[in-house]
Subunit: 461 residues, 2 copies
Amino acid sequence: MKTEANIPYKFYLEESELPTAWYNVRADMKNKPAPLLNPGTLKPMTAKELDGVFCDELVQQELDDTTAYIPIPDEIREYYRMYRPSPLCRAYRLEEALGTPAKIYYKFEGNNTSGSHKLNSAIAQAYYAKKQGLKGVTTETGAGQWGTALSMACSYFGLDCKVYMVKVSYEQKPFRREVMRTYGASVTPSPSMTTNVGRKILAEHPDTTGSLGCAISEAVEVATSTPGYRYVLGSVLNQVLLHQSVIGLETKTALDKLGVKPDIIIGCAGGGSNLGGLISPFMGEKLRGEADYRFIAVEPASCPSFTRGKFVYDFCDTGMVCPLAKMYTLGSGFIPSPNHAGGLRYHGMSSILSQLYHDGLMEATSVEQTSVFEAAEQFARIEGILPAPESSHAIRVAIDEALKRKETGEAKTIVFGLTGTGYFDMVAYEKFHDGKMTDCIPTDADLQKGFDGIPHFPGNE
Amino acid sequence: MKTEANIPYKFYLEESELPTAWYNVRADMKNKPAPLLNPGTLKPMTAKELDGVFCDELVQQELDDTTAYIPIPDEIREYYRMYRPSPLCRAYRLEEALGTPAKIYYKFEGNNTSGSHKLNSAIAQAYYAKKQGLKGVTTETGAGQWGTALSMACSYFGLDCKVYMVKVSYEQKPFRREVMRTYGASVTPSPSMTTNVGRKILAEHPDTTGSLGCAISEAVEVATSTPGYRYVLGSVLNQVLLHQSVIGLETKTALDKLGVKPDIIIGCAGGGSNLGGLISPFMGEKLRGEADYRFIAVEPASCPSFTRGKFVYDFCDTGMVCPLAKMYTLGSGFIPSPNHAGGLRYHGMSSILSQLYHDGLMEATSVEQTSVFEAAEQFARIEGILPAPESSHAIRVAIDEALKRKETGEAKTIVFGLTGTGYFDMVAYEKFHDGKMTDCIPTDADLQKGFDGIPHFPGNE
């Protein structure tokens, strides 16, 4: 195996090198992401309006688009030390197997029990909820990574945790549910009969397999109607991208220490938490004119918000109880095919990333499910790590980009986010092995149904 | 959180600090472990006799009880670098939660896709098989950790891998099977109709849930009757303890660098691979009179070979096709209750550890399943890592020892082996959460049935 003397397979920063502040990329954006709107008045949501839904300090973080660095409280850094800094890995074996001149790195966020990067924001959000004296939090989860991460964080801080889990995932992933129970969370399949919005959706669509948008509505309803509770969300929001900037900050510090400058940075994109976190500090350099990078968002062809969605104000949830967000969206009524495995099934996209994409500062591409699992299995066999389906979207494109370099002979440096492990996704792997996996790409007519639910008002098209 | 300035939560050695040689504790034992016997002649097995079952170089390692350090081939060290050195963790949060003056460390072997320490020997055994020009290997697996590790190692080296999986585990753990398939292995529930010994056992016991001893017989039969194949085993054997010494060597280097001397070293014990690997270098110091430590083997009350077994020559497998080994054994016909979760279900114990225990150089204790899962859940909630049921046996006793220090006020240093993660054991966790877990302790009459199968010959009692 040909390796570079100063670059190990896995590069760990010291715990003392953990970032002391999150980086808020909005501070460096000329075109700020559009504000959340009150769906009744169509005016920007105020802190006061958001306080009933989110914790006070998280509302401040949500609205702050000018402070570049926001200190990470010591207690959060203490919890980060239980599983961070995460390793920056050099894919020597993958490079050799592909025969590419490209150098491939990945930031591996899967070495914690939640199995993904989601824990970075879960710990922050649980900390602020506890600090505010709350009793508990509610949330939704799709594939289960976020719910697991939040249940762990709530267990650390002694908070109650109520998770609404998309019904199709609840049924396909009983073990995810059991991990959440291990950490003391209660898990309810969504839509459920425990909320008004759930009962309404079930009355209209008794056979629905659920969606993230629907589970969000239920979790928000419970949070806003239960004293001492607030709602927390694992992606999409500005505050989440802020917390996840710890991924990019560590990656940048590690690359700087190794003397490596990446050319292409690749991340999978569902709501944008991993991608936004990974690219933030690099995007900051690009926005400030200090460096240039190619950023590639990879989304599933079965839920293609960047590549086939509209950049408009839309509801964040199916029940339309949340504020409106300006984002690339497939419409809040869009539900990806139940054959679509894993996460990355949200109808919209982070407002920050949407704006950056709209401004031509990053690229986006979509990949089909079967080719994603081919890349996943190839990666598992060569690099040893069994990747989550979500992460494997980034692997697919990293491999494709590396193979292109083989043709051109360019020794480009590729960095991608390996967000998590696939130990709870073996049903999907089984389908793939048995040749029963399909690509489930929505037709234009399918998409039109989703677009029809986007609110109409002047300027929103 | 009160932490010591020079001791992080997770201490990683550099990849360059990976051991360059395995340590063979037999070299320092005054009373060597008894040799394997040919069951026909009752004479020690020769290298020539073992060659048909095991790879040539592994036979040498199996028989060598004088060479203290055996170099680790560079290619094996390259593969170790994909997931090693593993972290030595300080359980600051657990210490605080228990209010103990004890200092608790654990060597965490679960951060690789096989989910346990088993990969350390799998890579070595697959390497030697490949080097010898073999086509493939056969093995058995119980809970599935070893089968997963071997399938990964075979995928690295391009070897065929046939796994016989204890039927009860095969049915309870379909996802383990799927991980093995991801790495290209074939997995057969045991006993099966694919071997003579399987057909014989099924004819006699059509409802059997299988056992490790039975799966071993099938795997050995296939290996010895298929050209280009050999049998490999994930525990019990001297060669396996040799490979697993990498755990103890790293632990010792890390503790030395931190300036820490342990008082008590604790490991779970099924066949002995983890415990033997963890304690070997420390036991070497004890044998040479350079230092003293307490060693505690922890076994399940449902399969108590050390604490209720006999120290005699016995068959290693149910089909009686393997050599006889002198060890603490419950009899090759002993099958733990199907209610017993996870691994640690082998009827015997490593000959090395058996001799050390017999000579009073280490202690053993057994713990009941429900108290093991209580410790597992407590550990998960406090330390964040969801432990495997096997590893949780060590956690149980580490917690108990730490609580004893609370009474005496002694600031003893405890090190235990956290061998793996429990992501594929959620059925057992579910039983525990639902109050459906039992302790399934064998009666004396149950044990007598196993003892009745121990071979009778002069001196063997």
